[in-house]
């Protein structure tokens, strides 16, 4: 279980300190798929990095399976928002995907199978031997996704992983994430700007306020375990949730910092 308690993060570099996260507490059960939405600059990436153990919290705790997270924990994979810069430019696409597997100690044969499957799944089977800088933005992003998928993590953190791909590919990748999640029982935290996507994918959607971030609402998504791009998105419950979350984000952007203050057009 991923347990976030009274998390606070202040960036104290050059210039005035910036409080990115004011106070966040929530839990993600094992094998749960939680989406995070919030206005731009809210602190979603900051949160994700704290979860990943890449950024030390200023105060508060993050714990994974009872262990406090001080560095990247075992069995975790991350897709960073800066997908382009997260690929190693001196390696081919296939090598990039393979590298974490090597570090994990996966055997050679198994490695190449995993790499092949992952690249296939994101539609890049034919560019394995290209370098990342020879790919389009969306393709680079898909390489980063393939890398995380091939890793077969127990915890998967993704930061706007589909921002640079076309709508059709996006749908396919969404289904890929759901398949992965179901197949491996991965715990997934998924940051996105696309509210439809958040609802389609998640079992819960965390709506964050603007900076300094607090949790505006933890929205439960009751759309069943089996989802389908056409059907699910057409469901009335989907539409309701979507309007709700959309309005929440809108209010968050306007500076609303608690659900009580939010002026929604409907009953929460």
């Amino acid at each position: 279980m991923l347990d976030v308690r009274a998390l606070n993060k202040v960036y104290a570099g050059r210039g005035d300190p910036v409080e990115a996260i004011a106070d966040l507490s929530f839990q993600v059960s094992d094998g749960e798929l939680v989406c995070v939405v919030g206005p731009s600059g809210a602190g979603k990436t900051t949160l994700l990095r704290c979860l990943a153990g890449l950024l030390p919290a200023t105060s508060g705790d993050v714990a994974l399976a009872g262990e406090p997270v001080t560095g990247p924990p075992q069995g975790m994979a991350v897709v960073l928002q800066e997908y382009g810069r997260s690929l190693f430019p001196w390696m081919t696409v296939a090598q990039n995907v393979e590298l974490p597997l090597k570090e994990k100690g996966v055997a050679r044969g198994e490695r190449s199978r995993l790499v092949g499957e992952a690249l296939e799944a994101v539609g890049l089977a034919d560019v394995g031997r290209s370098y990342p800088w020879q790919l389009s933005g969306g393709m680079q992003q898909r390489v980063a996704i393939a890398r995380a998928a091939a890793y077969e993590p127990q915890v998967l953190l993704m930061d706007e992983p589909f921002a640079a791909v076309d709508a059709q590919t996006r749908f396919e990748l969404e289904d890929l994430v759901r398949a992965l999640w179901k197949g491996l029982g991965v715990t997934v935290v998924f940051v996105t700007h696309d509210i439809d996507e958040a609802i389609y994918l998640g079992e819960r959607v965390l709506v964050l306020s603007a900076r300094p971030t607090v949790l505006l609402e933890d929205v439960r998504v009751d759309l069943g375990a089996e989802r389908d791009q056409l059907e699910t998105r057409g469901a009335p419950e989907f539409a309701r949730l979507r309007t709700h979350v959309y309005e929440l984000v809108q209010q968050a952007k306007l500076g609303v910092r608690s659900l009580a203050d939010a002026r929604l057009t409907h009953a929460g």
Partner: protein
Amino acid sequence: MTAAQATAPATAQAATRQATPRRTAWGVVRSVLYAVGLPLVLLAAWWVATADSESPFNPPLSEILATFGPTWFSGDSFADTRFVQDVLPSLGRLLVGYAIALVLGIGLGVLIGAVRPLRELAEPVLEFFRAIPPPVMVPVLMLFLGVGTSMRVFVIATGALWPILLNTVEGVRGLDPVLKDTARAFRFGRWGRVRRLMLPGASPQIVTGARQALSIAIILMVISEMFAARDGLGFSVVQFQRSFAVPEMWSGVIMLGLLGVLLSFVFRVATAAVLAWYHGYLRSQRGGA
């Protein structure tokens, strides 16, 4: 080959098929022209400027060139020429010293660049030694290392170390933080981080340092042969200088320069593979061709 390739229409392939050989043939000619163009101009200028030079320390280029062959390549047998007797031993020490500098420089550089407390601890001491002139250092080294090859190799290695070390440190420090985070997130081991992140990531800068170090190694080869030496290219140059054999001395300077050009060519070929990604990356976004 790949599916993507198969779909590419004939036009593109035809275009590249004819473009590639033509470009390489012309490319070779072009790079040769580039390589010799400016040197020829400069030599001509030198020739003209010194054509009727009276100054004993600045003899006509014609005279220098005339002494070049006899100085370095005359002897009873080839094995007896100065080239074999002096230049090759020097070259040997140079290469050994340089290799040590590379290993040490990159190794220490990664350590110092990656471990901040270590950098803070070591930097003042290293800077202290870095500033001490080799002519003062060498006698001290002789106390410990004697006057043989090991001392000379040590001088070359320690002198050539700095550009590699500094550049490696800076290269490692300047790595893209997103890449560092990626490596951390996937829990690359210590060695994995070094081998797969730091070394390749810093490689453009490491290669720059190694290039610098190459010429410094040549210079230190000369300096190391100013002390307790019996043979060597540097020794010969210094001997010529001391015995006022000025054209011979100049021919030695030219020999050093040629050595530099030769080594840097070898260096470039050797590093081409290491930096292929970097040049490809830079080129791919500058015009895409």
